[in-house]
């Protein structure tokens, strides 16, 4: 089967005041349909940069990216994005925030009632139906992140790109959102690329963990295949020796091979 997303020899240079800065080099990665891939690495190594390249928000300085058989030249509706800081528009209710994307994707084909139904269904999926007419500043951080996820899912993208979607949340909220995401992914069979800092989260959610070397000029160090049965249950996995092994492998990469010296 042909991969959904292909990242080929991608390099990224930024022009800064101090000259050009090489953030990424020689990135090669294929992502198949239905696969969940997490990107992990130390802060500043270029995870967001890589995700933004796949999203089409920035264009690579070397190499190329292909999605669904076409070169990525900008953002597209087949690639949904969940931002790290939720990025909901504060002047629209949660419902209208989700509706904005739905209208754009399905507005030409479907009537208003159907669009509203889609919006509602997406919010129900993340258990936000009770607060969907509230404004972003009236709901908690976890709820905002849920709406952000619903907004991306509602557009029925082929692939979902998430930049540390739970990074700003406390551990309990994060766990419950991870469980929710597991449920949503199982239901929709979504393809997901997700940036994370959290080793447990990486193992729990992904089929493959892409571990990145330290920047500058970061690239993919190792790729770990996680062959745990799905759907996964965090409580059972807590005592699973295989889970512990995966966890150890990532920790070893991050804190032995890529130990970040205090800058």
């Amino acid at each position: 089967m042909k991969p959904l997303v292909q990242v080929q020899d991608v390099g990224m240079r930024f022009d800064t005041k101090k000259g050009s800065f090489v953030a990424l080099r020689d990135i090669n990665l294929d992502i198949s349909e239905g696969e969940v891939v997490t990107l992990i690495g130390h802060s500043g190594c270029g995870k967001s940069t890589l995700l933004n390249l796949i999203a089409g928000l920035t264009l690579p300085s070397d190499g190329g990216l292909i999605c669904n058989g076409r070169e990525i030249a900008g953002p597209g509706p087949e690639r949904g994005v969940v931002f790290q800081n939720h990025s909901l528009l504060p002047w629209l209710s949660c419902f209208d925030n989700v509706m904005l994307g739905v209208e754009r994707v399905f507005g030409t084909k479907e009537g208003k009632a159907k669009l509203k139904e889609r919006t509602k269904a997406a919010l129900e999926m993340v258990h936000m139906e009770h607060a969907m007419h509230k404004y972003p500043h009236e709901v908690s951080g976890g709820m905002k992140q849920r709406v952000g996820i619903a907004r991306a899912f509602a557009m029925e993208p082929k692939i979902l790109l998430m930049d540390e979607p739970f990074g700003a949340l406390d551990a309990l909220t994060r766990a419950s959102l991870q469980d929710e995401l597991i449920g949503v992914m199982a239901k929709t069979g979504a393809t997901v690329v997700m940036v994370t800092h959290d080793v447990d989260e990486a193992v729990l959610l992904s089929d493959r963990v892409v571990m990145m070397t330290n920047g500058p000029a970061a690239t993919i160090g190792e790729i770990l295949e996680v062959k745990l049965d799905k759907p996964r249950d965090r409580l059972k996995l807590a005592h699973d020796p295989q889970f512990a092994e995966y966890r150890a492998a990532i920790l070893e990469f991050l804190y032995q091979k890529q130990l970040k010296h205090a800058a």
Binding site: A55, L57, G74, P75, G76, P77, R79, G80, V81, F83, N85, S87, L89, P90, W91, L92, L100, G101, R104, V105, Y135, P136, H137, R151, M155
Partner: protein, 310 residues
Amino acid sequence: MTTASMTMTHAMPNKSSEPIREKPAEQAAANHVASVKQAETPIIKVGQGKLPDALSAFARAVLPPLIGLALLLGIWAIIAIKTSGFPSPLKTWNAAVIIFSHPFYINGPNDQGIGWNILSSLKRVAVGFGFAAAVGIPLGFAIGRFKFLNSMVDPIISLLRPVSPLAWLPIGLLVFKRADPAATWTIFICSIWPMIINTAVGVQRVPQDYMNVARVLNLSEMKILTKILFPAVLPYMLTGIRLSIGTAWLVIVAAEMLTGGVGIGFWVWDEWNNLKVEHIVIAIFVIGIVGMLLEMILLQIAKRFSYEYS
């Protein structure tokens, strides 16, 4: 408040990078007041323990302004006694009662009630400001959105903005041949800058996150304008409008003194010629109160449209 806005406008360097937003300062002031109140509470409790809380709160809210006003009246009365020709508060009050018992009389074109004078000044401000908004707000959007236009217009704005609006009055008289549109033209010129600058800065300050959302959701240019740019810029725009109207109200009085006709500024000049100083004092109060009301109304509107960014 209006004068504070004015100094802010002028104190602002010619760069359009700093928005003219007063919110933080006001909030800081409010916080300060709050903390002072908190600090005071226990002292008052100790002193007047039996006073009901609501009553003491009321007293604390009302007493200081009353004391301030009384002080003003006292100083005024002393000055009136010491200076010949300066009316006492009582004399002014009696004159005000007469004036305001018939605010809308008309005795020929140059002798009309104070109500008409205020209304015609407000009308000039409204018309001049309306034109300024119609030109300034779209221009501000365009300048904020397109870098080229910004670099093109920035030097012109920097050059023209510090010019006193009254310097434009002769140009208005020359072009329009009549006093009334010339005064309106002056208002137009002085109220257009804050709107251009604030709108442009607002557009430039739209968080990159929101623009990324627009790109990821693949919104049309129209949707970007209505769902993202306009709401994000609205608070900045309202600040611009508030500053504009404040300035316009300051300028109209001076402009009318020069052009004559009907209007509060002309009325002041006319009363000076009649040597009715108490009427001038009344006019000062009227101008102040109207300016204050304009400011309050616009602040209320701005409050309704300020979003919580979190």
